[in-house]
Structures are given as C-alpha cells and as structure tokens.
C-alpha cells in the first residue's frame, strides 16, 4: 500500500527512574527484513522491542510504523506518553508480539486464543476467524490441538500457539522477545523451525535472541546492542565473521 519502512526508530531514549536504558537508538526495518538484536543481559534489548508497540513509553525519540508516527505528548514523569490511545491500539493491532513466556490466555483453548484478537479487536466474523485460525494452527503443527487448553501443551507447543495467535492478525511486522529462552533445549528446534519458515516467506520480523547460530542463519541484518547503544550493525557475515568492536568479539566468544 505504501512503501514506507515497516518500522522507523530515531534517536530513542528510555530511562527508568535514574537508570538510562536506551541512549539514542536509531533503527529502520524495511518490509521483508529480519532484524536480529543481540547483546548482553540488561543491554536494553527487550526495552527497545517493547517501545515499538508502546508497551514501554520512550523518554524521547521518534517511532513510526509504516510511516505513521506515534503521537506523543510530555508525561508527568518528564518523558513522553502516547497522546492518542486509539492510535496506539490501531497500530498495535498491526504488530504481532511473541513473548519469552508465551503469555497465552490460560482460560481459553488454543483455538479461542487464536481467534480472540481477530474477533474482539479487528471485528472479523467468528466463522471466518475460526477458518483462519485452523489454517495458521495447521501451519505451526497444532492442527490437532484446537480444543486443548494451554496448560496441557508443552512449552514448544505453547510458543507455536502464540506464534499462530500472532499470524492470525496477519501483522505487518512481528516482534519476538527471546522466543526460545524459556524452552527446554529439546523443544527449541521446533519453534525456531516455525520462525525460519516465516522468514523464508518474507515476513518482517524483529527478533531478540540468544540463539546466535539461528540469528546468523535467518537474519538479514544483525544489531549488537551494548549499554543502551547500537555498538555494531551489519549483515550476519559482517557481524559474526568480522566483528569490529572488542566488546562484540568478546560477546560472540562468550555465547557461541
């Protein structure tokens, strides 16, 4: 529809009280790009990701989704806050987020989890939503688990259901926050497999991950975040094959 980048972030700052977590981050994700964000614990990866859909409110900076900038106004705490709640809701409905802890709704079946946002946010008729849900659940290999409650699924199945829940709204970008970190090692592969499929299909994704081999494999661009700044950025070959910064070199050595 428009050829604006899916996500544009300019000079993003975020402070929690006295703790400066993001210190001027700029980032553009074009349609079809898979951006992997790597970095040590506490470097601000989750915070950066959560600013994209306003789960965190930036202290300053500019964020636009598909060319539409969030309208912000000063907050009492000295930062920014959304000026228009409806705009935030409208933009959020076009972004999918996959959490480390899945965050499925336990009181709803897998099918109900997946139809929830289409029916109750987008206003899709229930039968259409169900048809679409079956399709995406089939895709992630959960076609047999429609009526199951999340508690009866393995971690890997829960995360795949959470991915299906996001696919059901056909988002223009998907945000992943360490989607495999809470999984037993033997379940990581099935989830990464699904994410790889999405990358191959040309979905726009921003992926915070500790799975370096995977990032190297699927990312079109890798961003190394350190202490609230982008310390290095480039193709996977550049970053993993020929890291420039000493910190990145050491980081790669410590995790691979």
């Amino acid at each position: 529809m428009n050829d604006q980048p899916a996500i544009v972030i300019r000079d993003l700052h975020k402070r929690f009280g006295d703790l400066q977590v993001l210190k001027g981050v700029s980032l553009t994700a074009n349609a079809g790009e898979v951006i992997a964000i790597i970095g040590g614990s506490g470097s601000g990866k989750s915070t950066l990701l959560r600013c994209i859909n306003m789960l965190e409110h930036p202290t300053s900076g500019h964020i636009a989704i598909q060319g539409e900038a969030y309208a912000m106004r000063p907050s009492r705490a000295g930062g920014l806050q959304p000026a228009d709640r409806r705009q935030v809701q409208r933009i959020r409905a076009q972004l999918g987020m996959v959490f480390q802890n899945f965050n499925l709704w336990p009181h709803r079946t897998v099918l109900e989890n997946v139809t929830e946002a289409p029916v109750h946010v987008l206003g899709v008729p229930r039968d259409q939503a169900i048809a679409r849900a079956r399709q995406v659940l089939e895709r992630v290999g959960l076609g047999e688990k429609l009526q199951t409650y999340p508690v009866h699924l393995s971690g890997g199945q829960q995360q795949r259901a959470a991915i299906a829940r996001v696919l059901a709204i056909d988002p223009l970008a998907i945000l992943f926050d360490e989607p495999t970190s809470a999984l037993d090692p033997e379940l990581v592969g099935e989830v990464l497999g699904v994410i790889r499929d999405l990358a191959d299909e040309g979905r726009t994704m921003v992926l915070v991950t500790h799975e370096m081999a995977f990032a190297r494999d699927v990312a079109s661009r890798v961003i190394y975040l350190r202490d609230g700044r982008i310390e290095e950025e480039g193709t996977p070959e550049q970053l993993f094959g020929d890291p420039q910064s000493a910190h990145l070199k050491q980081f790669i050595r410590s995790v691979m």
Partner: protein, 239 residues
Amino acid sequence: MFQSIDFSLLALTAPGWGGALLNGFLRSIQLAAGGYAVGIIIGILGASAKLYGGLVLRDLAEIYTMVIRAVPELVLMLLFYYVGTDLISRAAQAMGFTGFDIDGLLAGIIVIGLVQGGYATEVIRGAIKAVPHGQIEAAQAFGMSPVTVMRRVTIPAMTPHAMPGMANLWMIATKDTALLAVIGFSELTQVTRQAASATRAYFLFFLSAAALYLLLTLLSNVVLRWYETRARRGMIAAR
C-alpha cells in the same frame, strides 16, 4: 416435645403462615442476589480504581472500603437507607417531581450492594493482582482497549482467584438481608417475627426460617462449586 408443635401453622394459605414465609424467603433471595450483583459491579469498579486509577480515584476507593469495613453493617444500612432515600426524594422535589416514591426492593438492593461492594473491591483487587501481568500485556499488544482487556482477559483470568472470597460474600449477602428487617422490609426474618409473635409459636417459626436459610446455603454451595470448576477451566487442578 414435637407433639406440642402445631405444624398446620405452616400451611400455605391463611390461617397458616407458610405462604407468607415463602414470600419473605423469595424477597430475601431477591435482595441478596440483587445486592450481590451490585456488589460485584462496585467491586470491579473499585478494584480498577485502586489498581489503575489516578490519585483521586484511588483515594476515594480507599476511603470507601475503609468506611465499609470499619462501621458495623447495620449502622451502614440504616445510614445508606435513611440518608439515601432522604437525599433522593429531596432531589426529586427540587427537580419538580412530587409524590416521588422510591421502590423498596431497589433501595434494599442498593443498600446491600454498597456494603458488599466494599468487601468485593478488596477480593477482586487481590484476584486481579494474582493474574500474571504477561496475560494482560499480551492483550494490550494486540490493540485491545482497556475495557476489552478487562472484559476478555482480566475478569475471566482473575475469577478463579476471586471465587473463594466471592463465595463467602454471597453467604454474607444472604444473611445481611435479615438486617433489613430493622428497616421494616418484609423479608424472611421480618415475616418470621410477625408469624411468631402472632401465633406465639416461636420455636416452630424460627426453626423454619433457619431451615430455609440453610437450604439456600446448601443450594448455593452446589451452584458455586459448579461455577468455580467452570472458572478454573484451563488451570491445573488444585488439591
């Protein structure tokens, strides 16, 4: 001892008092159910005010629950009833309505609801805090409005945590209806008193009333247990 009891006094039609007793019982159930429902609504609003409200709302909710919990229920009911009806009829007069009559049942329901709401606020606040925040965040991330998040996620997710406390409140609501006898509501206790003093069969009538209250409690337990099982769907079975 039972030979001396004249059970014909319980006949449904006069001169028996059975019909009157059942009517009183029905009225008690209406008062309890209505008051309980009002209490739940106030509880959800009060809990939201305490958890998500600004300074003013939070303080108001705090004062409300403190007053409800500190003052004896009978005093609260008398206060709400007499002050409330007085204020409403004055307001009605000021607006030019004359002969304005406040519906007794509705007034009773609101009085019980206001008391219940204070306790329900605390129960529901605790239950909402027990819901993992990630579930609410996931709903927000999909662009749900605050009301939709409340309706579709927070309330169903907190219900299992609220059930024990809310079941308890229902028991209290059924018994609180008896306090309305003081104001003159013809609910079960009031009718029982009338029947007993008219016939001097105190033992028979108060025992009958107790049996009816007990029956209500037993039936309620069945319904509440069924509902709790339903609300806990998708949760690992406790115990």
